[in-house]
């Protein structure tokens, strides 16, 4: 509880803080791509077992912020991150932190489904293998099965586990990528526009899945669809030109936004 009050004080914008405990917290996050600054002093809390939606017009820095949370920005040479980002109170940019372990705790699903060119089984087993989570074949089978089940894909693929994952439909591939991410039992799952390449039915399935996953995981989702943000998230953060404009409970953001820019964006006047 203490932490919550702290959050409210520290984060001037965060007038209605998460009711749950804070899982991740970004304080004064600035990101530079070379000379160009992409994020300006972002302060944002991610509540535990909650879906946080990041919205905002294209190029405003949503993906950039998301990629800070599991240090995927490390793979871009020119990218520099300052400020503090914590996971369970621990600074993830601390040099002592093992980025391999961090990414096992903070998984990621990308905009375009990117299954490895391996079998469905091997795709899901990839994470557990590299992290040594299962020693016996039985254990691995169990992990693969439960992950696929949690991703709502098992019934569709149970007869073709050893066929290539790239042979699935787009929506199935995206759920396979979600299964792959949850196979290492992460605590947080980051999703960057996970439905933008999917049709409405596949989107509905993935949204349903996100809602179920909320029980066990903390989820941060970037989306361009206001309806999707409204449907799946509990909290919404609005970005604009690299600034965090407003953050609050989703229903309040969509019925009674405080910032003019949020209002304009939600009603479709720009972006």
């Amino acid at each position: 509880m203490n932490m919550l009050t702290d959050a409210a004080i520290e984060n001037a914008l965060d007038k209605t803080p998460a009711r749950e405990a804070v899982k991740m917290r970004g304080s004064d996050v600035r990101v530079f791509y070379g000379e160009k600054q992409a994020l300006f002093d972002v302060n944002l809390d991610i509540g535990e077992n909650q879906v946080t939606a990041l919205i905002g017009p294209s190029g405003c820095g949503k993906s950039t912020f998301l990629r800070c949370l599991n240090r995927m920005n490390d793979t871009i040479d020119i990218c520099r991150v300052t400020g503090d980002i914590t996971l369970d109170g621990e600074d993830i940019y601390n040099p002592r932190i093992d980025v391999v372990e961090l990414r096992a705790r903070v998984g990621m699903v990308f905009q375009k489904p990117n299954p490895f060119p391996k079998s469905i089984y091997e795709n899901v087993a990839y994470g557990p293998r590299i992290h040594g989570l299962a020693s016996a074949k039985n254990d691995m089978d169990a992990i693969v099965e439960t992950s696929l089940q949690k991703a709502g894909l098992f019934n569709e693929v149970k007869d073709r586990l050893h066929e290539p994952g790239t042979g699935l439909s787009g929506g199935q591939q995206q759920r396979l990528c979600i299964a792959r991410a949850i196979a290492v039992s992460p605590e947080v799952i980051l999703m960057d526009e996970p439905c933008s390449a999917l049709d409405p039915i596949a989107t509905a399935k993935v949204e349903e899945l996100i809602d179920e996953l909320r029980e066990n995981y903390t989820i941060v989702i970037v989306t361009h669809s206001m309806q999707q943000a409204a449907r799946v998230s509990q909290r919404t953060a609005m970005f604009h030109l690299g600034n965090l404009v407003e953050v609050g409970p989703t229903d309040k953001m969509f019925t009674n936004p405080e910032d003019k820019r949020t209002q304009d964006y939600i009603t479709g006047r720009f972006g």
């Binding site: 793979t75 372990e101 490895f116 992290h131």
Partner: protein
């Protein structure tokens, strides 16, 4: 004259192209969107009609003209000359007639020959002009026919594309026919060889001493045609070359793709590719003058005596030679793996090494195997380095410090100097060639199957 004719036909088809295009442009002007094909296709259609049949005709004409005139000339010789004369005598007459006709007179020709030469010249000229007239007439008729068919609704694009299809099929057939021709000629001569030397001696014999006498007065060995040492030598050298080239090539490709900065890569990649352009003779010098002595020195330090011609020197230098095939093709294959695969792996918490071994290499496997294969066939086919650095003696050994010889080197030495196609020495070259051909073919098929089996396709 023939050259001018070809130029004329080309010029005509160019004219036809412009005629077709402007005709179609007029269609467009008068009929608008009703016109089926774009003017470009009408032009191409007319050009094909005018050019291709005439060209085919000229080629066929040229192929048959000489034989026909020869036959006619011989038939026109007076019976007093040809009566009871052998075929080879007749062909002598013929070449004399041709010599006289082209003004190369060596001895006083007989009046019959002189008359025939004159006739020959005249007929040649007639045939040449007839060809020009016929070809141009065919072009003109074709242009007329093409122009008649042209109409706003005419599907010129489909017709032109059909012509392209036929051209491509013809090219493919030509390539296949050449391959078949190679196989047939190799097989024929190899069968001649196996009539003289039993196959079991060739395939299982352990002695290779093919330098037997071809003429009576030559001093030479009695000969032995056991090809096993030649093939093991080839395998040994190719294996050494691959052992050198595959790890270096693959690792350098990995470094260039995954670790090196863009600038470093821009400098190093072209340098690596230069290696492929160095003439093999230069590699041979390098092997003989630098590598072989170095190996000898190193051997003598540890008390080994190494022959000056060693498989190690030849194979090692050959490895450097084939390095760029492997590094360049692996480089391309690795770069073709989408960034999203790397991101996906890193986001799972994989390290760089895990990403490379578990995602990148499997995804790039077909390209890498292709590069290794190309390199292997270069290694097997390489001759010059082996001649210079590994020697000519066929030794049955697995010791890389011995001198060995390879199939291609043996083929060269067998076909240098006196050859005679009823002697096993010469014919054995074809048997070697056939086996080489078949084994590289098997290698290719095997590699294709491996690739298909283990390939991991990405979008």
């Amino acid at each position: 004259m023939t050259g001018y004719l070809f130029l004329a036909i080309l010029a005509l088809s160019l004219v036809a192209f412009y005629v077709g295009r402007s005709t179609a442009s007029r269609f467009v002007a008068s009929h608008g969107a009703e016109v089926h094909s774009r003017p470009l296709y009408h032009g191409a259609f007319a050009a094909v009609w005018v050019g291709v049949p005439a060209l085919i005709l000229v080629v066929l004409w040229l192929l048959s003209q000489d034989g026909l005139i020869d036959r006619l000339i011989l038939a026109s010789l007076p019976a007093s000359v040809t009566e009871g004369v052998s075929a080879s005598r007749l062909s002598l007459y013929l070449s004399e007639i041709k010599n006289v006709a082209s003004g190369r007179i060596f001895s006083e020709p007989s009046p019959e020959i002189l008359a025939a030469a004159e006739r020959y010249q005249r007929w040649q000229a007639i045939a040449g002009w007839a060809m020009v007239v016929v070809a141009l007439a065919v072009s003109a008729i074709a242009l007329y026919l093409a122009r008649i068919r042209m109409a706003p609704k005419f599907r010129a694009r489909q017709s032109f594309e059909r012509a392209l299809d036929i051209a491509m099929i013809t090219s493919a057939v030509v390539a296949i026919l050449v391959t078949i021709g190679i196989i047939v000629s190799l097989t024929y001569e190899a069968l001649q060889f196996f009539r003289l030397v039993p196959p079991q001696e060739f395939f299982f014999g352990l002695n290779w001493e093919p330098q037997i006498a071809i003429r009576e007065d030559q001093v030479a060995g009695t000969g032995a045609f056991g090809a096993v040492p030649v093939f093991t030598g080839t395998l040994l050298i190719a294996a050494i070359a691959l052992v050198v080239a595959v790890p270096i090539g693959l690792l350098s490709a990995l470094y260039l793709v995954e670790f090196a900065s863009e600038r470093f890569r821009g400098i190093v990649k072209p340098i690596l590719e230069i290696l492929a352009g160095v003439p093999t003779v230069v590699y041979g010098f390098f092997a003989v003058l630098t590598v072989a002595p170095a190996i000898r020195e190193a051997g003598s330090l540890v008390g080994l005596s190494i022959s000056p011609n060693s498989a190690l020197a030849a194979g090692g230098v050959m490895g450097i030679m084939i390095l760029p095939f492997i590094s360049s093709l692996s480089d391309d294959a690795l770069r073709a793996v989408p960034q999203s695969m790397r991101d996906g792996s890193f986001a799972m918490g994989a390290t760089r090494a895990e990403t490379i071994t578990r995602v990148l290499l499997p995804a790039a496997l077909p390209g890498i195997v292709g590069g290794v294969l190309l390199a292997a066939s270069r290694a097997i086919g390489e001759t010059m380095i082996v001649v210079m650095a590994a020697g000519l003696t066929a030794t049955l050994t697995a010791n890389p410090l011995d001198g060995v010889t390879t199939v291609t080197v043996q083929i060269v030495t067998l076909l240098i100097g006196d050859t005679s196609f009823d002697n096993p020495k010469t014919l054995s070259a074809f048997a070697l060639g056939l086996v080489l051909f078949v084994s590289t073919l098997c290698l290719n098929v095997l590699a294709l199957r491996i690739v298909r089996r283990y390939r991991e396709k990405y979008e």
